[in-house]
């Protein structure tokens, strides 16, 4: 099955859209991480909970970010 031509076919390919979405996602992730870090550092009441939150956050998100990067580069 041949994909239907779109007005963007000459400008963007499917891979470019994936790359663009990846950059957007990484930007959003970086911004979110900064906001999250600021809030926990400023408004938390317990340093131990802060540490546990950040460890869990990075343990859950970094593998996904690596996977996303690998898929995008491949």
């Amino acid at each position: 099955m041949t994909p239907a031509p779109t007005p963007f076919n000459d400008v963007f390919s499917g891979n470019d859209f994936v790359l663009l979405f990846f950059y957007f996602l990484i930007g959003f992730y970086a911004l979110f991480t900064a906001v999250l870090y600021y809030h926990w550092q400023t408004y938390s009441t317990d340093g131990k909970i802060n540490f546990l939150t950040f460890v869990t956050y990075f343990a859950m998100t970094i593998p996904l970010v690596i996977a996303l990067s690998a898929i995008t580069i491949m």
Partner: protein
Amino acid sequence: MLYDKLQLEKDEVVLKTVRKHWFVIVTELITVVFVAFLPITLITIIGSNLDVLKSAGITILLDGQLVAFLTSAWLLLSILAGFTIWTHYYLDLWIVTDRRIISVDQIHFFNRSVAIFRLERLQDIEYNINGFLPTFLNFGTISAQTAGHHEHNFRATGMPDPRGLQSAIQSAMDTRLRVLHIEADLSE
């Protein structure tokens, strides 16, 4: 840290720090987990029924790389949503000291309100446990009314052990009033 920002008065003692009941966050996180695994479940169902769909005349073209990318992106966004819920849960709290109640309301990341109520100005403290689960798990709504130039009410939902919290605030209030009366008598 929060206590530096609140600038507690000299000799002010924190009696209790209260967050919403665990049931509140568990229900929200279960929803996020369900939503996070929705695409994986959907892909698994479609993948295991490709023959059935083909025989019904439905052709689905799955680009493995694109599916993996979108699923990972979806999972990442779901995890961020989960941490948003956790942050709002943990940073939203009531601090009962021997002089005042500090209510910190973390509505979302860029909307936060902090209200301070002096114990000697509190009038009524009321709690309400409504429903099967709140009764069974012991959580409910607590509200209080303060006296002043402007009548002001404050209210928190999903608080654990509202009966215990009410009595803790009541006894802190009584102690505070006693201290103030003693101080007034001594100054005369």
